[in-house]
């Protein structure tokens, strides 16, 4: 056995050259099945197209803005929609449409950054689920504790101590997401760890690192993708919530949540000023949630309550 493991490192190095094409082709095949299912799922397609559009707007914002999003026109405050300002102006006479376009990138950026920070939970969860024992016990207990603090409140507490800035918003929601990613990764890793092929791989001399990367991660990919998609939606929601509390990204930078909060604070008796930002926030969240559901379906996990 020992002799085997000692001589083991050599063969993979040799055999590494031929397998990749085959393995990659297999991976691609499997991948394509999921992708194919996603592409025939109409809600997922709509969500993907909308997200692509929103990302394009975020990238080319400066080309699309009809006005300077920061220029104040104090003679034209709280104007309704018109030919000059398609969605009207806000309480400082700034063009709402331009501000929505300008706010796309910061809104998306915080959401993605927050989710990336939350993904720190994934390797921890994989380790916990794979190693079990004390590591899992301790990490599980900590994540249980963190999960019992309501997410918005936790983010709110973190911002309370760190101070408000867009980076801190991302950090706060990221920290809130870590135990959630941990749970998903841990569950996935634990269920895989007991499979026979894991035993086989281990018996044939596969080290823990290789086991994790080659066998645990691919099998946990589905649930993790679902979680990621939903997490981004949650982040958008929490981020906007923090803005409404006056704890989001500080003023000069427009974000959708901040605009909603502005409309509410300064023009509360009118319903129209709140609508554009509110609708965009809901659409963005809905896109990510729909995508999450569709990915789950595409990976063939029976979703309860569907048909």
């Amino acid at each position: 056995m020992t002799a085997d493991t000692v001589t083991e490192p050599a063969p993979p190095a040799v055999s590494r050259t031929p397998p990749p094409p085959l393995r990659r082709r297999l991976a691609r095949l499997r991948h394509s099945r999921v992708v194919r299912r996603l592409l025939t799922d109409r809600p997922a397609l709509v969500a993907l197209v909308l997200l692509a559009l929103i990302s394009l707007v975020a990238v080319f914002h400066s080309l699309l803005e009809p006005h300077d999003p920061l220029r104040q026109e104090l003679s034209h405050i709280n104007a309704g929609p018109g030919s000059e300002h398609l969605l009207g102006t806000d309480y400082l006479g700034r063009d709402v449409l331009s501000r929505l376009i300008e706010g796309t990138a910061p809104t998306l950026w915080t959401a993605v950054l927050g989710t990336l920070i939350g993904m720190i939970g994934i390797p921890l969860g994989l380790l916990g689920g794979y190693l079990r024992g004390v590591v899992d016990g301790v990490l599980g207990q900590v994540s249980d504790g963190l999960l019992s603090i309501p997410p918005l409140l936790f983010a709110f507490g973190i911002i309370g101590f760190m101070g408000r800035s867009s980076l801190n918003t991302a950090l706060a929601v990221g920290i809130v997401l870590i135990p959630r990613f941990y749970r998903v990764a841990q569950t996935a890793a634990r269920s895989v760890a007991e499979e026979l092929y894991m035993e086989a791989a281990r018996a044939s001399g596969c080290g823990p690192g290789r086991l994790l990367v080659r066998h645990v991660v691919p099998n946990a990919l589905g649930p993790l993708l679902v979680q990621t998609s939903q997490a981004i939606g949650v982040v958008v929601s929490v981020q906007a919530g923090l803005s409404v509390l006056g704890l989001g990204t500080p003023p000069p930078t427009p974000t959708w949540g901040g605009m909603l909060s502005d409309a509410f604070d300064n023009n509360a008796d009118q319903i129209f000023p709140m609508l554009p930002s509110a609708v965009l926030i809901v659409v963005l969240i809905l896109c990510f949630f729909t995508l999450g559901d569709s990915i789950r379906d595409a990976y063939g996990r029976a979703e309860r309550g569907k048909k």
Binding site: D144, G145, P150, L153, F156, G157, F161, L245, I285, K306
Partner: protein, 338 residues
């Protein structure tokens, strides 16, 4: 039950000892309580560690750069910063478990006193919201399950998926605008204590309650519908149907009973969500609850109060989860010996 033998050593030993003490179910109950206390400990430590996130010296952040040395020293003392780190931790945990959360820097009052004032408001909101959740969720879920696939069912499933994506404050802002500002049917903001005027107490909580319930009732309806329809495929229901009972008949007499336990878990989770969501809804509707206390404290950098608010909400959630767990163990002993 014998299956619990080859589990991890620690839990197995504790489990065995507890079984010897109080038999299967009591043992499980004790274990649940034990794990809730552990969770609580983790939360207290996390809440303690929050203060480490303050960039720079917290005392300077509170008092400003030009503060006198005495003032800084006093605030450091108030925040416990004049002690070594480990002692601060032990101190905070010990005091938290003896219901002492320190003194507010802004108001110089005990934090627990401030929280005790705000708690009834938040709890009132949570109770009203849960009432709405239960009524709306159960009615909609049942209606959908009565005729799966009907237009009503499809609308509800689709509608609840959308409702889950709408942040509660968006719904709150819209409801407030339409029913309070435009139509003037209900108060826009403000809170009346139940003892002062129960009717006004309720009318003031209708809009915020509905706001919070919008999300959780969608979730409750979705889960209930799923459970009821799942039950429909089970053998005993098929037998009942074969005996000539109609689906609505079976649904109300038998399927409901089976859906009760999972429902309870969902309700527990939703109540936790409601407590978390209340923070922001309170701000929208001007309710002087925990959320508002927290926001005011954050803006004033009143760290002990911020900690207190986070801690109390987490404790509520943990207590609720424990309660739901215990009721579940009681209702359905076989699921919970793992």
């Amino acid at each position: 039950m014998g299956r619990s033998g080859p589990r991890v050593a620690g839990g197995g030993m504790a489990g065995a000892a507890l079984r010897r003490v109080g038999g299967g179910m009591a043992g499980v109950a004790l274990r649940r309580v034990g794990s809730a206390i552990l969770t609580l400990l983790v939360v207290v430590i996390v809440v303690f560690l929050l203060q480490q996130l303050v960039p720079g010296d917290p005392a300077v952040a509170v008092a400003g750069k030009d503060a006198s040395a005495e003032l800084l020293a006093q605030i450091r003392h108030q925040l416990g910063l004049d002690q070594p780190f480990f002692l601060q931790l032990v101190d905070y945990v010990w005091h938290a478990f003896t219901f002492d959360l320190g003194t507010s820097i802004q108001d110089s009052r005990p934090v627990t006193e401030m929280l005790a004032e705000a708690l009834p408001v938040s709890l009132s909101l949570a109770v009203v919201a849960m009432g709405f959740t239960l009524v709306i969720g159960v009615v909609l879920g049942t209606l959908a399950a009565l005729r799966p696939g009907s237009w009503l069912d499809r609308t509800l499933v689709g509608g609840s998926a959308v409702a889950l994506a709408v942040p509660p404050f968006v719904i709150g802002l819209l409801l407030q605008n339409v029913f309070a500002v435009k139509l003037g049917w209900l108060p826009v903001i403000g809170y009346t204590a139940f003892a002062d005027n129960p009717v006004q107490w309720f009318t003031g909580l209708i809009l915020p309650g509905l706001t919070l319930a919008s999300l959780s009732s969608a979730e409750v309806a979705r889960q209930l519908r799923g459970n009821l329809i799942d039950t429909r495929e089970q053998d005993f229901i098929r037998t009942l149907r074969a005996k000539g009972l109609t689906w609505p008949n079976v649904l109300f007499k038998h399927a409901f009973r089976n859906a009760a336990a999972p429902m309870l878990t969902v309700l527990g989770i939703q109540l936790g969500q409601v407590i978390g969501g209340a923070v922001i809804i309170e701000q929208v509707f001007g309710l002087p609850g925990l959320g508002q206390t927290g926001v005011t404290a954050i803006l004033a950098k009143d760290y002990p109060v911020v900690r207190g608010v986070v801690l109390v909400c987490a404790v509520l959630v943990i207590a609720l989860n424990l309660l739901v767990d215990l009721i579940n163990v009681k209702l359905n002993p076989r699921t919970d010996l793992r």
